[in-house]
Amino acid sequence: MNSENESISFDVLIVGAGPAGLSAAIRLKQQAKKLQMNLSVCVLEKASEVGGHIISGAIIESRVLSELFPDWENLGAPLYTKVAQEFFLFLTQASYFKLPIPTQFSNNGNYIISLGKLCRWLALQAESLGVEIFPGFPAAKLLYSSDGSVKGVVTADMGLDKKNNQTDHYQQGIEIYAKQVIFAEGCRGSLSKQIINKYKLDNQSEDQVYGLGLKELWEVQESNFEEGEIFHTVGWPLPADVYGGSFLYQLENNIISIGLVVGLDYKNTWLSPYDLFQQFKSHPYIQKIIKGGKRISYGARTLSEGGFQSLPKLTFPGGMLIGDSAGFLNVPKLKGTHMAMQSGVVAADALIQHFKGNVNLANKEVIGYGKQIKENWMWDELYRARNIKPAFSLGLKTGLLYSAFDSYVLRGMGVWTLKHKHVYLQRKGKTKKSISPEYDGIITFERLSSVYLSNIHHIEDQPCHLQLKDATKAISINYKQYASPEERYCPAGVYKIVKQPNAEVRLQIDAQNCLHCKACDIKDPSQNINWVVPEGGSGPNYAMM
């Protein structure tokens, strides 16, 4: 790494080809075209192809898509299945009750989609508008100007071995400069995290809170399939003090999407979101649907659940945050795609206003973006939803009652704003150990057979991308005080405590199983795990998550 990196410059660089990043890229090029302006836009994506790391329920409101492409239907956008019937259920172990659906959370008119497919389609549109998209090239490091502003990123090196030595195939990362860098990495982006810290963007906001979503796709028997039917559940198998719920969406061609979202602000170190998800599928109501079917895909990803209260400042010198990198998820509505896309559109519009006047945006902070977000419908939407998630910190039933009151009576316009309560993982002695789960291999499965369905590609001989800031803490704190919660919260079985006779207990990290969900970067009790990007193209290859 002695030689200087190669470099290349663009007007705008976008990190992450998800719905937010691609919408921003598309809007920039569309507006530039209208104004007959030359504007170069580059998108970096760590997955080996666009959509490969995208995972979402997903139900989407088509309003932003319609704004970008009024004729999206003719252009073949992959929105095929409209929500036809919707339930909201409260589950007990053996039974269920139907709950009413507040009108503002109704999915009437929305589409059940694969977000991965939608992103692939958006990428095609973006490329035809002249956006340069580079899948398989993760942004690994930030580049700062001497005045402290962001001036670009360095892509990840390729061909380093486990010990950081260069192999015969070593390819040094290249430096990509841009007048403005838009971070659209999704929840807990590895560069966004550094940006938020460096510019103290979260000074005025509450701490972000997170959830971990786990999802499977099933091909079910035709007789059990009801196209367009969806439901959400709360209650069993989640303990009453854990925020979360499930979803089941019936897409097309007998494919259903089934998932569980667990708030990562849980206290019990023994809790295992993965096992709760497996257990959830054994509920009679769910079994009835998936019985005789075949599981075809599995994945997991964290999401930002802080909403309005946790939204950081969105701009800094040289760039901005959009999508879930900032935290634009409407938690009670369980929807973020339209918000992510809209934030990309607003960011693009703010940039265009300056580019139009030939302003050199290098090193500048485009504060107009933050202002325009506040004038946009998405600000109002986020504001109205702000009190639901924190109300659940008082327990499931209180939360449900409050939500009903807030949604039906106040319609989100209460004068107060509830705070997110800080919750820390409790030590192992303080909480009850749960019984080890059993998997039947038909409806419930162990972690590794699930990870197999994520189509992970990961060259083993590369530096470990799950870095421990202090390796001794894995045993002295995590193992001794918390009974190594990473063994349970990791949905891919990456972390394993190895006990061998005549040897000290040690933590084994199987980084090649990593699904890039970022749960470890969030949930580690002493914030000792740092998730960085691995070699380009590593990680899952989701086909239609």
């Binding site: 080996s48 692939r120 195939h169 197999y452 086909a543 239609m544």
Partner: protein, 250 residues
């Protein structure tokens, strides 16, 4: 030297194949597709030959539907000079592909054709041999080493049962690459940008007047039975008991 490298777009090796529920084939909708890994080795071999002879011209060729061009751009990003896409919506079987490639060999007149030894989707390993037959050129299959001896000769090492065979072949020739020949290089971002500006010619398969009608019919595709799970035994005695119980090996 002019080198032609036929390549194929296949399901990415990291993706696990799923058989369609009607057993008509495997479901590749939305799955990640890549250059056949053996063809990547062929490209790398050609690039290495070019490194020792800068006057070489490397041409990648693929046959298939419009979306097949993505592998040609990957090949050009690796360093191939230009590409040819033989476009067709027909299902192509090995003989049809070999015939189409033979036509390209007539128009391009390369000194060497380097193929991957087989495609990982159908594992047929037929195109290189058929192409050599149709063109009447020399052939060396499953090559693990290549040495450029002179303008009209090539020294290659091929794998045979129980050993290695050293061959001297006269050009023009068709060779197919084994896994051990080399490790393909990474594609760099700069080269992806350069590849977008390289020449890509599209030829309709109809214009080549070749009979590409399928000769083989797929009756049904079934998934392999699940592998039995491994089991850890505590000692040799236990192992022997289990082997006696479950197999007739002892």
């Amino acid at each position: 030297m002019k080198i032609l490298i036929p390549i194929k777009k296949v399901l990415d090796p990291a993706v696990h194949v799923r058989v369609k529920s009607d057993e008509s084939g495997v479901d590749i909708t939305n799955e990640k597709m890549s250059i056949n890994p053996f063809d990547e080795i062929a490209i790398e071999a050609a690039l290495q030959l070019k490194e020792s002879d800068a006057t070489s011209e490397l041409i990648a060729v693929t046959c298939g539907a419009d979306d097949a061009v993505s592998v040609l751009y990957s090949a050009m990003a690796m360093g191939v000079d230009r590409s040819i896409h033989i476009s067709t919506d027909m299902e192509l079987q090995p003989l049809a592909i070999a015939k189409l490639l033979a036509r390209v060999c007539i128009t391009e007149n390369p000194s060497l054709v380097i193929c991957g030894k087989q495609a990982i989707d159908d594992d047929a390993s037929q195109v290189p041999q058929m192409l050599a037959g149709l063109t009447g050129w020399s052939q060396a299959m499953f090559v693990t080493e290549i040495e450029n001896k002179s303008e009209n000769e090539l020294l290659v090492t091929t794998e045979i049962d129980g050993g290695l065979e050293n061959l001297k072949i006269t050009l023009p020739a068709v060779i197919s690459t084994d896994l051990r020949l080399n490790t393909p290089r990474y594609i760099t971002l700069m080269n992806i940008m350069k590849a977008k500006k390289k020449q890509l010619d599209v030829i309709s398969s109809d214009s080549l007047s070749v009979d590409v009608e399928p000769r083989l019919q797929t009756l049904k595709v079934v998934p392999a039975p699940d592998e039995r799970e491994g089991e850890i035994v505590n000692n040799v005695d236990e192992l022997i008991i289990k082997l006696k119980e479950r197999t007739r090996m002892i």
